[in-house]
């Protein structure tokens, strides 16, 4: 079978790819392949589904007619076993061969399963990045369940949030000295931990699981926790095995340029599986951030269809709610920190000279996007009224001319 465009992956980056291609090329054939059998769904919503906050139908990332409206053929529930970059063809696990003109790898990330003694034989042990995992947990979750979660990062805590009001006990274990180690500093992490503890979660920090046996976890601090459900959420890794097999350059993810092109011609990559340039920390890294994944996907699609486009404004950006507490983080948290007190809420800004590099907001804040845009546009904060801006995000902190461009000039 020959297709003009082939996309591996059915989540944000892959869907972005379809949209990007169709913006420029309404006719060229598209085939989308995914090893999950479902219509594209929003991966972060699996915790909301487990919590009972969304229905399975409402989890669709795009409506039912998406593939049809975009003339996109699909192979769902089929895995790609091999990419032959020289022959420009793929081999699927159902035996099919697909020839392509342009290929987009948007395989996302895979959960990292740590090598713990007894893990392979452990019963009721789940990772938490797919619908299948969530369905597995839901099948056995009840109000007598004792839940143990390894990993106090974004995935681990969202899983905890989903289950805390449906189980008997819930423990969270992490080797780091703070929860949410990738996005918070010590002080703010402590603040969030206290809040979650008041909601019933029990934390074991600077601890790891040495051994799993008979549905018990043996911790490094000598505690032993019985479990009915064990979730391993210590982190994800970019899914680069196919790319490596095809001898594409990889480092902390598939290496791409600002047009999302990999080291081989006509092969693009986008989303969690790539390594990209974090413009706030000024370094390459793997950023598993859904908005960036989608934007990279669209850019890849446009380039594949022949419209030269670049994406070079990626930086980490996270908005999450945890049992009523709202956390906004963005960018890089190394830099001169300015804290602004706002009642019980937390507001921390990180600067490098006159440039805002990152921030953490915890509380019911409005209009945080104005801060994020300071990072994105690399605004020289000495040209605006930064004092007022830090008190409340506002366009009034900009000069009159800037405001004219934003609100009054042709958009």
């Amino acid at each position: 079978m020959k297709k003009k465009y082939v996309i591996i992956g059915n989540s944000a980056a892959g869907i972005g790819g379809v949209t990007g291609i169709r913006k420029e090329d309404k006719a060229g054939s598209i085939l989308l392949i995914s090893n999950e059998k479902y219509h594209t769904y929003s991966r972060p919503l699996i915790s909301y589904w487990l919590q009972g906050k969304v229905t399975r139908e409402n989890m669709s990332y795009r409506d039912d007619r998406f593939y049809e409206d975009n003339q996109c053929e699909t192979r769902l529930g089929v895995a790609v076993t091999n990419i032959d970059a020289n022959q420009k063809q793929l081999i699927l696990d159902n035996g099919e061969t697909v020839e392509y003109e342009k290929l987009l790898i948007s395989t996302g990330s895979v959960p990292f399963v740590p090598p713990i003694k007894g893990q392979k034989e452990a019963q009721n042990c789940f990772t938490f990045t797919t619908m299948k995992a969530a369905e597995g947990i839901k099948a056995i979750l009840n109000d007598q369940s004792r839940v143990v979660i390894l990993g106090a990062g974004l995935i681990g805590l969202k899983a905890a949030e989903a289950m805390i009001n449906q189980c008997k006990s819930l423990h969270v274990i992490d080797l780091a000295d703070k929860i949410l180690p990738s996005i918070l500093d010590l002080e703010t992490a402590e603040y969030v931990k206290t809040y979650l503890e008041e909601k019933g979660m029990v934390f074991h920090l600077q601890t790891q699981i040495d051994k799993i046996e008979d549905q018990k976890t043996f911790l490094s601090d000598d505690a032993i926790l019985d479990y009915d459900i064990l979730v391993l959420a210590v982190g994800t890794r970019p899914a680069t095995s196919l790319a490596e097999k095809a001898e594409l350059k990889t480092a902390r993810g598939i290496v791409t340029d600002t047009q999302q092109l990999t080291s081989k011609a006509d092969i693009y990559a986008a989303g969690d599986c790539t390594m990209s340039y974090d413009m706030s920390a000024e370094m390459d890294k793997n950023m598993a951030i859904l908005p960036n994944a989608y934007m990279q996907g669209e850019v890849a699609g446009l380039n594949m269809a022949g419209k030269a486009t670049i994406f070079e404004k990626a930086f980490p950006i996270n908005s999450l709610g945890l049992l009523g507490m709202h956390i906004f983080t963005a960018g890089d948290l190394n830099g001169e920190c300015k804290s602004v007190t706002d009642g019980d809420d937390i507001k921390k800004f990180y600067f490098k000279e006159n440039y805002l590099k990152g921030f953490v907001l915890i509380g019911d804040f409005v209009r945080p996007g104005i801060y994020a845009n300071l990072i994105r546009q690399q605004t020289d904060c000495s040209t605006i009224d930064m004092e007022t801006m830090m008190k409340t995000p506002q366009l009034a902190a900009f000069s009159h001319n800037e405001r004219f461009k934003k609100l009054s000039a042709a958009h």
Partner: protein, 145 residues
């Protein structure tokens, strides 16, 4: 495409646009009743009152490159053929990623805890209520290309 644009020199900071917006989008037919409810209707645009007597209203710019749509994790935000950006309240789970993406701070939380923003009164069968009720032509609905 027609958008709501600001004529900053004429804004008096009276906030009538906010009240009329909230009313127009409240689903009520009587403005007094709408505001006497326990949960008052929420405006979809925001008037900033700055120093030196400067005031202006900020509403969704219906961007050509809509960061909110690109970042939405559920697909609740979408752009229609006319270029207007809509929120499907049934799909929104209130994660607020869009609020963090919008450079104008044009999105806000409504009474259902989902996110809301100006949709140019397309769901109200009228020209934008804010523009119609501004006493001083400080916001207008026009094409500026």
């Amino acid at each position: 495409m027609k958008r709501v644009y600001v004529n900053e020199e004429w804004c008096l900071g009276c906030h009538l646009c906010e009240y009329e917006c909230a009313f127009a989008n409240s689903g009520e037919t009587n403005i007094v009743k709408a505001f006497k409810r326990d949960r008052k209707p929420i405006p979809r645009l925001h008037v900033e009152d700055a120093e030196n007597g400067i005031h202006f209203a900020v509403s969704c710019r219906q961007c050509e490159v809509p960061y909110c749509v690109l970042g939405c994790i559920t697909g609740a935000l979408s752009k229609d053929e006319k270029g207007i950006i809509h929120i499907d309240e049934n799909k929104c789970i209130g994660c607020r990623t869009c609020m963090l993406m919008c450079p104008y701070g044009a999105l806000t939380i409504n009474n259902n805890k989902t996110v809301t923003k100006c949709e140019l009164c397309t769901n109200n069968n009228q020209e934008p209520a804010c523009v119609q009720n501004c006493p001083n032509n400080a916001i207008v609905f026009e094409e500026r290309e």
